[in-house]
């Protein structure tokens, strides 16, 4: 990004070529408080396991992202309704030969419900978060959080635990009754940060050419707005003026990222609206987001990195199209699925695109994927299950399934 201020450059004006954050203007780093409480024996800090990568966040600071030994804090919306999302996250880890833990000792963060209905309270929310962190700690794996809302809410909880001694004591006591310690991870890591940190490794394993693929990016509100600190801002992406998340990965995969004017707007999810007042979610998602993207950027796909955003942007398009046949739809993927496809993942066995609503077939065609053949392969595998030749599809099945369709 070039900085055009030289157009108005005064004689003595030493305009910077680009903007850089400096530590001087940084707000307090939560780590200071974290280390103090650890030193006082108030809580245990789970360290980011080595090896880790360091990614830039605001104010010239960096954040450690673990490569492996991760504890995958799953998302209910992903696992429940877009299962190709979490499957792709795992598949990319496996493809890169990285060890991880997919726990059953994990609950939802319950924040979707909390932001939808408020049928909970501060202490319950904090206990749910800290119980999950303790479970990760006990398994000696570091939490990596799949859902943007979980990530944002856990940052809220972290702030409250660090600053509210009364809450800390209450949560500690409840966890102790279950025999669990009070543990805070050194960093809160969203899975998309892992994809950003690993983007060059992922690109090394790329088998499809994405240089003809145009994408738009929707950054998730709860990733970077809800508790502003420690989200990735990379000087190499948007000059560090916008979060680099998703865009960094898409660019590394050779795709063309196109801008549109409503990128800051939310998707319309609304938490309760998506469940019981969808006229709002649908209107917002289609009118403010999809329509604008189409008019201004005409992408082949829009990428995002959160459960609610994929759901709202994807599912809302059917009704808009039903109402107006000229409404031009855009396929919606998580960047995890996009990366998996780039690495040769099967569109149905791995990315599970048949759970998506907006038409993704033209995208697959542009990527050079024979979706008819791929679907036949998926049905063949389902046939095995139906004939009780196997109970479940396994990773081995996915790895051995013909991938020619994806070449």
């Amino acid at each position: 990004m070039t900085i055009p201020v030289e157009l108005v450059n005064g004689p003595g004006r030493k305009n910077k070529k680009e903007f850089t954050f400096s530590e001087e203007h940084a707000p307090e780093d939560f780590h200071d408080h974290l280390w103090e409480l650890e030193a006082a024996g108030e809580l245990v800090v789970q360290r980011v396991p080595e090896p880790y990568l360091e990614v830039p966040v605001k104010y010239g600071r960096t954040k450690k992202v673990p490569i492996g030994q991760t504890w995958h804090h799953k998302s209910c919306g992903q696992c429940g309704h877009i299962p190709g999302y979490s499957t792709s996250i795992f598949w990319v880890n496996r493809k890169l030969g990285i060890e991880y833990n997919d726990p059953t000792d994990q609950t939802s963060c319950t924040a979707w419900n909390y932001y939808a209905s408020a049928t909970s309270n501060q202490a319950a929310q904090a206990c749910v978060a800290m119980r999950n962190f303790a479970a990760a700690y006990e398994s000696d794996h570091f939490p990596i959080i799949h859902c943007g809302t979980s990530f944002g809410h856990y940052k809220e909880v972290r702030h409250e635990i660090l600053t509210n001694a009364k809450l800390r004591a209450e949560v500690r006591e409840i966890l102790a009754s279950m025999g669990k310690p009070l543990v805070m991870p050194e960093e809160m890591i969203h899975y998309s940060e892992w994809f950003h940190a690993m983007r060059h490794d992922i690109a090394k394993h790329q088998v499809l050419d994405f240089s003809k693929i145009a994408v738009t990016v929707h950054p998730a509100c709860h990733y970077y707005k809800l508790v502003e600190g420690d989200a990735i801002y990379d000087p190499e992406v948007y000059g560090g003026q916008r979060t680099a998340i998703v865009t960094g990965l898409a660019t590394a995969l050779g795709a063309e990222v196109r801008d549109y004017s409503t990128w800051f707007d939310c998707c319309g999810f609304g938490f309760r609206h998506i469940l019981v007042q969808r006229d709002f979610s649908r209107s917002f998602a289609t009118q403010r987001k999809i329509k604008r993207m189409k008019e201004e950027a005409d992408p082949d796909v829009t990428l995002t990195h959160d459960t609610g955003c994929v759901t709202t942007l994807d599912k809302s398009q059917f009704a808009a199209k039903a109402q107006d046949k000229d409404f031009a739809t855009i396929p919606v993927l998580s960047e995890a699925q996009f990366a998996a496809l780039a690495m040769g993942a099967h569109p149905f066995l791995v990315c599970q695109l048949h759970w998506h609503a907006a038409d993704y077939k033209p995208l697959l065609e542009k990527m050079g994927i024979d979706h008819e053949k791929a679907w036949a392969e998926f049905e063949e595998q389902c046939g095995r299950l139906e004939r009780n030749e196997a109970k479940y599809l396994t990773w081995e099945d996915v790895d051995s399934a013909p991938v020619e369709a994806a070449r």
């Binding site: 799953k74 209910c76 919306g77 696992c79 429940g80 309704h81 299962p83 979490s86 499957t87 598949w91 997919d102 059953t104 000792d105 994990q106 609950t107 939802s108 319950t110 419900n113 939808a116 209905s117 408020a118 049928t119 909970s120 309270n121 501060q122 202490a123 319950a124 206990c127 749910v128 009364k166 809450l167 409840i174 009754s177 809800l226 502003e228 800051f264 939310c266 319309g268 609304g270 309760r272 019981v276 209107s283 917002f284 599912k315 809302s316 059917f318 009704a319 066995l349 048949h354 759970w355 998506h356 609503a357 998926f378 595998q381 389902c382 299950l385 139906e386 479940y392 599809l393 990773w395």
Partner: protein, 235 residues
């Protein structure tokens, strides 16, 4: 302010209550430990409104929420608890407030008070939502694959019907071991669920919904007590 918002507006049919009752509700909002962190003062600059998705479609303004709270206008705050708070999208775009206010966070607290006190607005807003509360509190995951039913999501197109018809098969066709579930998002161990139930009990989160929906409360209480007793916990 006018707009299509009016069509979506919750029915403003709530009973008038004495001033003392409104003051009590506001005192409950203010007593929340997060309140001081969420409200400083309001410039009326409109930054929160311009960033707010709900303000585009409803007669809703995060600025009015912050302003009413800053003025401690008990009458207006009561009106907002009954009419406005459920319009918020909880996206927290309003956190760009130069004063450091968190209008979305104030609304979270106001909603909690509305639920805790079983106010009409909470009952109205959460009509049709109670099955979700049941799901999250009883299973530990918010949405489950078997919720994808064509009659529940007619506007999401034919994918939903295809999913629900093939649900059991398609869940088995997922490589991660934890994903073969249909009633929960993923497989959760019994020990984990027991711990979650203990949290709902010990933090008062379960009691919180008794004012909102006594039937739901009893049902959840029963489910939880059964499991906890089975696992050797005396409540």
């Amino acid at each position: 302010m006018t707009g299509i918002g009016a069509a979506f507006k919750l029915e403003p049919k709530y009973p008038e209550v004495p001033y003392e009752e409104k003051a009590r509700l506001f005192a409950e909002i203010k007593a929340d430990a997060r309140y001081d962190d969420y409200l400083y003062g309001c410039y009326e600059c409109g930054i929160c409104v311009a960033a707010c998705p709900s303000a585009r479609y409803y007669d809703f303004s995060p600025r009015r929420i912050a302003q009413a709270a800053a003025r401690e206008d008990v009458e207006l705050i009561f009106e907002q608890i009954q009419e406005d708070i459920w319009d918020c999208s909880q996206c927290f775009s309003c956190l760009r407030c130069p004063r450091g206010n968190n209008p979305g966070g104030i609304i979270t607290i106001m909603r909690e008070v509305a639920v805790n006190n079983g106010l009409d607005s909470a009952r109205e807003a959460l009509k049709g939502y109670t099955r979700i509360i049941y799901k999250i509190m009883s299973t530990g995951t918010q949405v489950s694959p078997d919720m994808l039913q064509a009659d529940a999501f007619p506007d999401w197109g034919p994918t939903v019907a295809a999913t629900s018809e093939n649900l059991e098969l398609w869940r088995r066709a997922l490589p991660p071991d934890t994903h073969h579930t249909t009633k929960t998002g993923w497989q959760i161990s019994t020990k984990t669920l027991v711990e979650l139930y203990l949290i709902w009990h010990k933090t008062g989160a379960l009691d919180l919904i008794s004012e909102l929906d006594e039937g739901l409360h009893s049902l959840l209480e029963e489910v939880m007590e059964d499991l906890l007793e089975e696992e050797g916990y005396e409540l």
